[in-house]
């Protein structure tokens, strides 16, 4: 059963790189949101200029991570203060749970996020 499900989903998962903005459109130690029917995506920028993309839903109670305070490579969820790691979308221990993370690259002055629908 589980195998059948995975197989049937495989062909639909086409990954594509989407241009979202220029790096400077995202505030340093801040984030911007991409509104999408499949769930908003938060794009973060660290102090070193690295960009990260997560589903804009905290694994705790679905808070909008894009609105949190960014520090190091983490964001503090604005609703209840969970710390979520920007690289993998996982909550800092002892909390557990992960939100989806998306590959990001900066190319020719553009931030690209890899979406797989």
């Amino acid at each position: 059963m589980a195998e059948a499900l995975t197989k049937s989903r495989e062909p639909a998962r086409v990954a594509r790189w989407i241009k979202v903005c220029r790096p400077e459109d995202i505030p340093e130690l801040g984030a911007r949101v991409i509104r999408r029917p499949g769930g908003d995506i938060a794009v973060f920028r660290s102090a070193e200029g690295e960009c990260f993309a997560l589903l804009d839903r905290c694994p705790h109670k679905g808070g909008p991570l894009s609105q949190g305070i960014v520090f190091g490579r983490s964001v503090a969820c604005p609703l209840h203060g969970w710390i979520v790691h920007l690289e993998d979308g996982c909550a800092e221990a002892p909390d557990t749970g992960c939100t989806r993370s998306f590959p990001v690259k900066v190319q020719n002055g553009e931030v690209l996020v890899q979406l797989s629908d």
């Binding site: 505030p27 999408r36 305070i69 203060g81």
Partner: protein
């Protein structure tokens, strides 16, 4: 670079904690080797008594098992005692010949039980009470033999006696002094303790000196003879007459020892490569035998081993709890009293409660609690912070829970609660979950419990209960941290006060400058310290410091309140709670135009528009054309008023206009936390001035000003500050008080907590008695607010546009 080598001798609680701290702050800088004389990894020695009493097992009390050492790359030598330190060759040598070279050596050799130098002390069946093997030997003896004598009526002796009694032995405790636990208890408390222990079946011989232990033909103990000629039959003798720092190894290596290995405030011995922590240490002439100071030492030592070089250990105020089920006992500080001290005593022999608090110069200096230790954490905190308790004095004896709490059904005794009962009403955490987490995860601090269970991490009103659970579960290992020396957050060792001082004295104008100057431990702080520093900068250097929106919580960044679904709420300002048909019409139009689902009247006499989409905020503000209500900020929120003398037939003062005037002079004022005011036009006080940060009440002859009230988690009645005649004076006194609060309170500290911390007297001295200072404070506040813009107006006109706009949806 080749890693440095760290060798640790002694694998007890102090040493292992130091390693944990070190690995946390500077993983991977050392190759670490540990020698432990015992065959076990690190366990919680304090919990040996519950093990002896059969309430826990050895497995329950393990803190770091062998896997932990392996996982952290520490090579662990168990059951290997170190014979000598070769300081010249910088290596240690074990009795079995094993060697380890070091660049840094950490001694954590603990202490040894003291053995009375009397005949028979070495007979079989004579034990001390120190480690797992002693405990196992006692458990084995209890299964086989009948009569036990425990020499020593101190903490350890009584716990041993209780454990043996629980396992069915006839136990007599022999004590040299006039009463039990004389170093922790006064005669009255000790008498009550003795009575309860006698009720459990223990027997006592006080003022009795042990002379000789007599063995039988089998070489096992048979009888104990006392100096006064009496004798007792015994097939088990436990010597619990005290401990001595284990300095043998250090002394043989020529390290300076004086009733302990002598260390400085960085835990360094006289050999700079060698550090020492724990019970083996003498710091400023004191050797500690309790675990809490050891943890503090470990933290400081780790900081220095990690080359940070900023921690200092300056000694500890310790307290004692007895871990005997059914007996609540607590003692701390100077409980006997001396010249210049006063005592507050409550004694209820029938109810089994005795409390003595010793005060000196309006400060708590010591105390003994018997039978009811609910408030021990609070007393210890007052003691360590040396807080002025003059205003608390009449309630002090009745404890903190007496001051009123909400959210956990008025429970104030954690011990009496069932496991399923809720402790934390905000996060729905029952008692059982907290206790289990403390035991299973080896938690020792309030912070740990907050992280793991979320209990007490929201409103904090159950903090007292959680502290009680910690205290009753881990015993003396739990010590509340002194707030005075508490670092601002985990990114630094500096306190709030140190950070503010640096910002003021060195004119630091940005967060990055402050972090650089104060050598912050993280590259850009965390969600706790950045908002605090941002506030401190703006408060110290208005118009000059750079505000950092990314260091503000979303509400202050977006100037609206985030709601659980990610939408925002908008509360326009209505000065003094007065509005007009025009404003109401605009509010109604905005609600329609932006399809705002909920419109609600707030507790502060304003109107709240709930469910606004972030993208709509600038438009909503433009259409409202009303000033920001700052209902989202750590700032002046509202000035609530009653209608006053203009309309009310009882009113004696024009409270409405006084309120409007106050609000017009104070709005846009950021503060350490939210600030709420109220003005009532007569003592009937319809604006509820008694529970506000500043409450003003009109009386026939002028205005009474009250400060530091609070209607939140704990209802706190505001305290009378001063009575004045004119409206100008109301503005000046209220403004001066708020500026003082802005300059001195810690970030996120409400006025009630700030005033309780510094004392109302201090406030009165700077505001009521010192007119120059009052004027200066008021002038500084006016200066800070001068030209401060209305954030809504700016944003309605286009400022920070990107903050409110989503990125274009990708094609």
């Amino acid at each position: 670079m080749k890693k440095m080598k760290l060798v640790m001798v002694g694998n007890g609680m102090a040493g292992a904690r130091t390693l944990e701290e070190l690995l946390k702050i500077a993983p991977g800088i050392y190759d670490i080797t540990v020698f432990g004389a015992e065959p076990h990894a690190n366990y919680n020695r304090i919990l040996l008594s519950p093990v002896l009493a059969g309430e826990m097992t050895i497995r329950d009390i393990m803190l770091n098992d062998v896997d932990w050492y392996e996982k952290n790359g520490v090579s662990l030598h168990l059951g290997r005692k170190v014979a000598k330190i070769d300081r010249r060759a910088r290596k240690v040598v074990a009795f079995d010949g094993a060697e380890a070279a070091y660049d840094r050596l950490l001694l954590a050799t603990g202490s040894n039980p003291f053995i009375l130098p009397i005949p028979g002390a070495k007979l079989e069946g004579v034990l001390t009470y120190r480690d797992i093997s002693d405990t196992n030997a006692m458990i084995a003896a209890a299964a086989k033999y009948k009569d036990a004598v425990v020499v020593g009526g101190g903490l350890l002796g009584l716990e041993a006696a209780n454990g043996l009694r629980t396992r069915g032995m006839n136990v007599t405790v022999v004590h040299l002094m006039e009463w039990l636990m004389e170093r922790q208890l006064d005669r009255t408390a000790a008498g009550m303790l003795q009575k309860s222990l006698e009720a459990k079946g223990l027997r006592f011989l006080l003022k009795t000196q042990t002379g000789e232990i007599v063995g039988g033909d089998d070489g096992r103990v048979k009888r104990v003879k006392f100096k006064d000629g009496r004798e007792l039959v015994a097939d088990l003798v436990v010597m619990a007459v005290g401990i001595r720092p284990n300095t043998e190894l250090a002394e043989s290596a020529g390290l300076y020892c004086n009733r302990g290995i002598v260390v400085n405030d960085t835990m360094q011995t006289y050999d700079p490569r060698i550090y020492a922590v724990g019970e083996c240490v003498a710091h400023r002439g004191v050797a500690y035998g309790l675990v809490a100071p050891l943890f503090e030492m470990g933290k400081v030592c780790a900081n220095h081993l990690a080359h940070f070089g900023i921690g200092r250990y300056s000694g500890s105020v310790t307290s004692t709890k007895l871990k005997v089920t059914g007996i609540d006992l607590f003692s701390a500080g100077d409980f006997t009293g001396a010249d210049g001290t006063e005592e507050i005593v409550l004694h209820d022999p029938e109810g089994g409660v005795y409390k003595k608090l010793v005060l000196k110069d309006d400060r708590l200096v010591g105390g003994v609690l018997y039978g009811d230790t609910v408030d021990s954490s609070w007393y210890l905190q007052l003691l360590r912070d040396k807080q002025n308790i003059r205003e608390l004095r009449d309630q002090l004896m009745f404890g903190q829970s007496h001051l009123g709490n909400s959210g956990h059904q008025g429970q104030s005794r954690a011990v009496a609660m069932a496991d399923a009962m809720e402790v934390c009403g905000c996060n729905g955490v029952p008692k059982g979950v907290i206790v289990r987490a403390i035991k299973e995860k080896g938690l020792f601090t309030l912070e740990d419990v907050r992280k793991h269970t979320k209990a007490s991490s929201s409103c904090g009103s159950c903090t007292g209960l959680v502290e009680q659970l910690l205290a009753s579960t881990v015993g003396g290992a739990y010590q509340p941290q002194a707030a005075k020396s508490k670092p601002l957050c985990a990114c630094t060792d500096h306190t709030h006060e140190e950070v503010r001082k640096a910002i003021r004295e060195h004119k630091l104008l940005s967060i990055s400058a402050a972090m650089r100057f104060l050598e912050w431990g993280t590259p850009n702080g965390c969600a706790s310290c950045r908002p605090a520093i941002n506030y401190y900068l703006l408060c110290a250097w208005p118009h000059e410091a750079k505000d950092d929106p990314q260091s503000r919580f979303i509400n202050e960044r977006a100037h609206a309140n985030i709601q659980k679904d990610g939408t925002f709420s908008v509360v326009p300002r209505m000065f003094g709670g007065v509005t007009s048909s025009d404003q109401l019409r605009r509010i109604a139009d905005v609600a329609d135009k932006y399809k705002i689902p909920t419109v609600k009247v707030t507790g502060g006499q304003r109107i709240d528009l709930l469910g606004v989409k972030k993208e709509d905020l600038p438009g909503v503000w433009r259409d409202l054309d009303m000033p920001s209500g700052h209902a989202y900020a750590k700032a002046l929120r509202t000035v609530k008023t009653c209608v006053g003398s203009e309309w009310c037939r009882f009113g004696v003062q024009d409270s409405t206009n006084m309120g409007i005037e106050l609000e017009k002079s104070l709005w846009r004022m950021y503060a350490p936390h939210k600030v709420k005011l109220a003005v009532s036009g007569c003592p009937r006080n319809c604006a509820e001035s008694g529970i506000k940060d500043v409450g003003v009440i009109g009386v026939d002859s002028g205005w009474e000003i009250y400060v530091a009230g609070n209607g939140g988690i704990k209802t706190e009645v505001a305290q009378f500050l001063v009575k004045v005649k004119t409206r100008e004076e109301v503005l000046e006194y209220a403004g001066a008080f708020l500026q003082l609060y802005r300059e001195e309170a810690r970030y996120l500290e409400r006025t009630v907590h700030y005033v309780r911390r510094v004392g109302l007297d201090t406030i009165k001295k700077s505001i009521v008695e010192d007119a120059d200072n009052r004027e200066a404070l008021w002038a500084r506040l006016k200066d800070a607010l001068e030209g401060e813009p209305d954030p809504w107006k700016e944003r309605a006109a286009g400022k920070d546009r990107e903050e409110y706009q989503a990125l274009a949806e990708p094609a």
